[in-house]
């Protein structure tokens, strides 16, 4: 065995009491692999050649394909997530409600949203349609708000918007005693 260890390594191993173990390994390492028959090596080469011949010659483009594919997959995943998040945070269209008070709340919210997003064609369309849509038609169309949607919408209002909402509700209630 001709493994060369530096004097420093040997000193460290001696200090740790590992020289005897090192000698054990050295002794076990001597001729630890039985030498196969001289014919074996050509047989091994022939086996490898047969296995390799069954493989297509690796193409030059396989290298860059290997790295651009993950990039494309990641980009697609990120784009999908971005779209999903954008859709989720997009303001929910105020739907016609079953009560007159909710209609008033929706109208108040609609007024604010229209001011904030003047360019939104979607809001314009909903603003035009919602006041004229009967509640029953809205329900049939599946436009009823989900549970807690009204509460959540009120939570999002600013103080001024809430004051305006209260004013509209009172006005509505006074018109429909």
């Amino acid at each position: 065995m001709t493994t060369k260890l530096t004097p420093q390594e040997l000193a460290e191993l001696e200090q740790a009491g590992l020289l005897e173990t090192l000698e054990d390994v050295r002794a076990a390492a001597a001729n630890d692999v039985p030498e196969p028959s001289p014919l074996y090596w050509d047989h091994l080469s022939a086996r490898v050649k047969a296995a390799v011949d069954a493989e297509p010659m690796p193409s030059a483009s396989s290298g860059w394909r290997a790295w651009w594919r993950p990039i494309v997959i990641c980009s697609t995943a990120m784009a999908t997530i971005a779209i999903a998040v954008a859709l989720r945070v997009m303001p929910v269209a105020p739907a016609a409600d079953t009560t007159a008070s909710n209609e008033a709340a929706a109208a108040a919210e609609l007024a604010d949203a229209s001011a904030a997003e003047e360019t939104s064609a979607m809001w314009d369309a909903i603003g035009a349609v919602a006041p004229k849509m009967p509640v029953s038609a809205a329900m049939e169309a599946g436009l009823a708000p989900g549970r807690y949607a009204t509460d959540a919408a009120i939570e999002d209002l600013t103080e001024a918007q809430r004051r305006e909402l209260v004013r509209l509700l009172r006005l509505e209630l006074s018109n429909n005693p």
Binding site: T21, V52, G63
Partner: protein, 222 residues
């Protein structure tokens, strides 16, 4: 035309398949002589440029070391032989990605160590008993010494097989394959400091395992 196709056409059938005969282009003796004389990096370049025989020369050049590495991890000829073939097939597929940062032999060790560690992680190696007459120089050793040394070697090999994978790989590459710490770092993809620490820990763990084996052996005898 193959016999099956001839038979099919003679009875009026149109075969839905065909036999394609491809003629393998082998290198001329002169080309092979050039390849045999080339260094490893030149062989890699020849392979990348499409000369398949360059890979055969690489196999011939490194097969013994790869086989010995596999044997030291797997402990028997059959598994080592299969793994050696597998290592070269992996090398064939990945040789285009070889950047030339290290020697081809070191890169092959890396492929081999990874393949062997994956293998021993799923299947405990079956250590082949080594016949004394295969290895021991009978001219200088008494029969008793021969048997005792051989038994000790088996115990050490079993203990090495129980080491954690990185420690085992470090010990095998350092003590058996005689690689330097720097070369081992290249093979294992770790720092030289980590290799030195692994080597130290491997010997420490081996010492404990051998002590436990000795204690168990003396208990059996008593």
């Amino acid at each position: 035309m193959g016999a099956a196709v001839r038979t099919a056409t003679s009875i009026g059938m149109q075969p839905t398949w065909s036999i394609r005969v491809t003629r393998s282009e082998t290198a001329s003796p002169d080309q092979m002589a050039v390849l045999q004389a080339a260094d490893d990096k030149a062989l890699v370049q020849s392979f990348i440029s499409g000369q398949r025989e360059a890979f055969d020369v690489l196999v011939e050049r490194h097969r013994r070391h790869v086989y010995q590495l596999c044997y030291r991890f797997l402990g028997n000829h059959e598994d080592a032989s299969d793994m050696t073939q597998d290592v070269f097939v992996r090398a064939f597929k990945g040789l285009r990605n070889f950047k030339g940062d290290s020697a081809v032999g070191t890169w092959l060790y890396r492929v081999g160590v990874n393949a062997c560690l994956n293998r021993v992680a799923v299947k405990q190696p079956r250590l082949e008993p080594i016949e004394p007459e295969q290895h021991v120089d009978q001219r200088t050793d008494s029969a008793y010494d021969t048997v005792a040394r051989d038994e000790r070697a088996v115990v050490v090999r079993r203990a090495i097989a129980k080491l954690p994978p990185k420690q085992r790989a470090t010990l095998v590459l350092r003590m058996y394959q005689e690689l330097s710490h720097e070369e081992i770092a290249g093979v294992l993809g770790s720092s030289v400091g980590a290799v030195k620490a692994n080597f130290f820990h491997a010997l420490g763990n081996l010492k404990r395992l051998l002590q436990a084996a000795d204690a168990a052996s003396s208990q059996e005898q008593s």
